[in-house]
């Protein structure tokens, strides 16, 4: 940023106590560079500079203006053989008059192209049209050249652009002398000393925003705009990210709402909140199945964990049941039941034996119980008791097994899924019930039940699990991508949340810069607006449209030039009410101030064909406006007809007129017509030769005055040419001329650079130009007050020859 502007921003920035430190850093960084702003946004702002000095409204140092000495074209556009347009390097109005096609505009274009390498009028043209840039009669070098005099630089500067081929964009430019300061690129864009009517009309028609862009560089606030734009871009990016985060949350919420999954429903609700609880959302997606125990996925997982009893176990149990039941049957059939009673009887008999009883109490057999019987009885009793024990054991074992099997008959838990019921549920429930119902059966029946009921149960469970697996997979396949998406979103949302504060700071910084720009802009544009209004008042002639105000308003992409128009004193009328001629006049009013700002390094201004679509009264206004601009600038106007020269002559506004004519083979001729010296001599001659008609009194009293005007013009022209050619400041030269009142003082100024040495004028005149020059001076001076009695035509001739000599002084 331009240092002065930067210091001004800093002063205001540091003075503003309402601003956050962070915002101050952002504004400062934005004024410097993109990189500095990035560092500030990353929390590492560069150290803030101190305000270097107390700013005073330093008078803008006006650059030394450059004036055109000549424009030369060769083989370029309408000019074949090389031709120069000789110009007087200094303020003044020069008209270049020629019919359309005479080549005059080629000089205007040559000047622009020499300096800029391009031509605004051509930019909109077709490629075919652009091919015509080279003259058909171009032989040898094709070039466009300007020679300039820069105030304060004794040596002229020339800028020459050459082309070697047919490609207009392939040119080389040479500045001579090589060390001349001719770096006008940015100034050419800002102050653009070339005005062509088609271009101006186009700008106005393109609308107030385009106008703004054309005028804004004058205000020198572009870098402030850039700074604001830097902040704005980042603010926009931040806001865009915020919107994207919100938008994405809405999308994810919608996706989640579409899932038959309580997890998703919760997620959807959380995502739908105005402000998101990121920790809650994270909890929802981090655990695979979430926190909800009743979730469908959880219940499906439970189904999948269900197992039917293993087949080998069921078969084993059935086999054991059968074996035990068979044994119990077998033992029972052997009348094992009575074994215990028989053993008890034998035992009792053995008790008797022990009591020395030998006779059987039951059958009376004596000596029934001998030793042999006793031993046998004891063995038998033992045998019988063992048989009884085995049966009891077998019965107990069977009962135990039966209980065990019954207990082991599993009741499966079969969840009900209302939204998407599993097809095999009913079959499984039935099989399970049948299975459970077997718990009341015993022995072989139970074994048979096991074998019969297991297969349907196992099959039903297997098919239910198949279904459940499919459903589980389906739900998980929907959930997992959503969970992943939400996890991604969470990262983005978290990092956006972290920059929310930055975004607020960027907004503040942007608004602050915008306000500053608006304020500085209003300040700087005010004097330009005044010039625009003044220019319009000169130009508008009989138009009932007045410009009450011109403002540069708006921010960002909505900047525009607001032209407030009044019609017959009524406010608020749009530009649409203006005629084409008025619009062109307005465009000229808007852009003349641009080229006449003191900051512009261009002392010259080229206006191409401004008279188009103007009514005669407005041409008078144009003549006055150009003439008043020409007091401080070298104004060169290219025009295709006699309206403007006529208006200038009629209004007696000083102008140098060059006639351009084009002959065969694009040979262009430039002739000077009507400079003030010749003008006054011609006038004097006209009066002198028409004495009969005008009357002796008038003629004798007027001719010497007109002759004196011619002499003064000659001397003045000599002073200007010499002193401005040496690079003297124009204002100083004009002041010196204005202070030298009268023929002799101004001649003294021309001879000696000192208007007070009037007494030496006659001597110098006689020495340089002979007695006739002294006579001419005396006759004119005396005659201007007392009239001239001699031959007036001779007087005019004498003065003409003296004037010619003085002019070349």
């Amino acid at each position: 940023m331009d240092d002065q502007l930067y210091q001004r921003v800093l002063t205001r920035l540091y003075d503003d106590e309402t601003l956050d430190e962070a915002v101050v850093d952002l504004v400062d960084a934005a004024c410097r560079s993109d990189e500095a702003l990035e560092r500030a946004l990353a929390g590492q702002p560069d150290p803030r500079p101190a305000v270097a000095h107390v700013l005073e409204e330093a008078a803008a140092v006006a650059p030394s203006p450059a004036y055109l000495r000549s424009i030369t074209a060769a083989g370029f556009r309408g000019v074949g053989k090389e031709r120069s347009l000789p110009l007087h390097p200094g303020p003044g109005l020069t008209l270049v008059v020629g019919r359309n096609g005479s080549g005059k505009s080629s000089f205007a274009e040559a000047a622009e192209v020499a300096l800029t390498g391009d031509n605004a009028r051509w930019q909109k043209r077709t490629a075919d049209w652009r091919k015509g840039w080279k003259n058909l009669h171009a032989h040898g070098a094709v070039r466009a050249q300007v020679q300039l005099t820069v105030e304060g630089v004794a040596q002229p500067v020339s800028v020459t652009r050459r082309w070697d081929g047919d490609d207009f964009s392939a040119s080389t430019v040479k500045v001579s002398p090589a060390d001349a300061k001719a770096d006008w690129a940015s100034a050419l864009a800002t102050y653009r000393p070339f005005l062509s009517y088609s271009e101006l009309g186009g700008l106005l028609e393109a609308g107030p925003t385009t106008l703004y862009k054309a005028i804004a560089p004058l205000l020198g606030l572009g870098e402030l705009s850039d700074a604001r734009e830097r902040v704005r871009q980042r603010r926009l990016a931040g806001q865009k990210e915020g919107k994207a985060v919100k938008q994405r949350a809405a999308e994810l919420a919608e996706t989640a709402a579409g899932l038959d999954d309580p997890r998703a429903a919760t997620l959807s609700k959380e995502l739908g909140r105005r402000t998101h609880k990121l920790d809650v959302l994270e909890g929802l997606v981090v655990g695979e199945e979430g926190d909800d125990t009743s979730s469908a996925v959880k219940r499906l997982a439970a189904v999948l964990r269900q197992e039917a009893p293993a087949e080998e176990r069921v078969l084993g149990s059935a086999e054991k049941l059968r074996a035990l039941a068979a044994r119990v049957d077998d033992l029972t059939q052997k009348d094992t039941a009575r074994s215990l009673e028989l053993a008890t009887l034998l035992d009792q008999a053995l008790v008797l034996v022990d009591a020395q009883t030998t006779t059987c109490p039951l059958c009376g057999t004596v000596e029934a119980f001998d030793a042999h019987w006793t031993e046998h009885a004891r063995e038998r009793s033992q045998q019988l008791r063992e048989q009884a024990g085995a049966l009891a054991q077998a019965r107990e074992d069977l009962a135990k097994l039966e209980q065990g099997v019954a207990r082991a008959l599993p009741k499966l838990s079969v969840p009900v899924f209302e939204a998407a019921p599993l097809q095999a549920t009913a079959a499984l429930l039935a099989a399970n019930q049948t299975w459970i119902d077997g718990a009341t059966l015993r022995g072989t029946a139970l074994a048979d039940h096991l074998l019969e009921a297991w297969t349907p149960l196992a099959e039903a469970l297997a098919s239910l699990k198949l279904e459940a697996q499919a459903e589980h997979d389906r739900l998980q396949n929907l959930w997992r991508p959503l969970a992943l998406d939400v996890a991604d979103w969470l990262k983005r949302a978290a990092s956006f949340d972290a920059t929310a504060e930055r975004l607020a700071q960027l907004k503040t910084a942007e608004a602050w810069l915008g306000e500053l720009e608006g304020a500085l802009r209003a300040d700087r544009f005010a004097p330009i607006a005044e010039k625009v209004k003044k220019a319009w008042r000169v130009l508008r002639s009989r138009s009932n449209v007045d410009i009450s105000g011109v403002e540069m308003i708006g921010k960002g992409t909505h900047k525009k030039v607001d032209v407030q128009v009044q019609v017959d004193g009524h406010d608020g009328v749009a530009l649409g009410v203006m005629s084409q001629g008025e619009l062109h006049a307005l465009a000229l009013s808007l852009f003349l101030p641009r080229v006449t700002l003191p900051e512009s390094p261009f002392g010259f201004l080229l206006v191409d064909d401004p008279v188009q679509s103007m009514d005669p009264a407005r041409v008078d206004g144009l003549a006055r406006l150009l003439s008043s601009t020409a007091r401080s600038r070298q104004v060169i106007v290219f025009t295709h007809d006699e309206r403007l020269p006529e208006a200038l002559r009629r209004l007696q506004l000083p102008a140098r007129v060059l006639h351009v004519t084009r002959k065969e083979q694009s040979v262009v001729e430039v002739h000077e017509a009507d400079d003030p010296i010749r003008q006054h001599l011609e006038d004097a001659f006209a009066v002198a030769t028409q004495e009969q008609k005008i009357g002796h009194t008038v003629a004798s009293r007027v001719v010497p005055g007109l002759c004196r005007l011619a002499l003064e013009a000659a001397v003045t022209s000599a002073i200007r040419r010499r002193r401005l050619g040496q690079g003297e400041v124009h204002a100083d030269v004009e002041r010196a001329i204005a202070d030298a009142e009268g023929l002799k003082p101004v001649t003294a100024l021309a001879f000696f650079d000192d208007a007070s040495r009037v007494n030496e004028v006659v001597g110098r005149l006689r020495k340089t130009y002979g007695q006739q020059a002294v006579d001419a001076f005396e006759l004119c001076n005396d005659g201007s007050h007392h009239g001239y009695t001699g031959d007036m035509v001779s007087l005019v001739r004498l003065c003409r020859s003296v004037a010619q000599g003085l002019e070349r002084l």
Binding site: L653, D683, V698, V702, L709, V746, H785, H786, G787
Partner: protein
Amino acid sequence: MTARDLLDAAWSLYRSDARSDRWWTRGVALLARQAIEQALREWARAEAPGVQAATFRAQLLCFASESGRTGADQAPYLWSRLSSACHFNGYELPPSGRELKRWLEATEPLLSTPGGR
């Protein structure tokens, strides 16, 4: 030639068809200025003989304060305006027709003596 003759010539040129000629403005101004200068000479000869020895500017100031003619106090200003129309002045606009007329009218009373009216 009297101041009256000169002023009449100025009026006559002012009204003539030479209006369309480029030199017309300067011509009228030259004649009007000479009328004032002649009026000054006539006044000095008749009413203030000593004054003739002074510079032109001093005579003009005396005329303005001493002649007692209507509008005489405006004579130096009027003369200087006409004078600048009679000299080559870089960028100054030549007077308009309306200005010329006003100047001619302002010159009118300078020509007559107080008693002569």
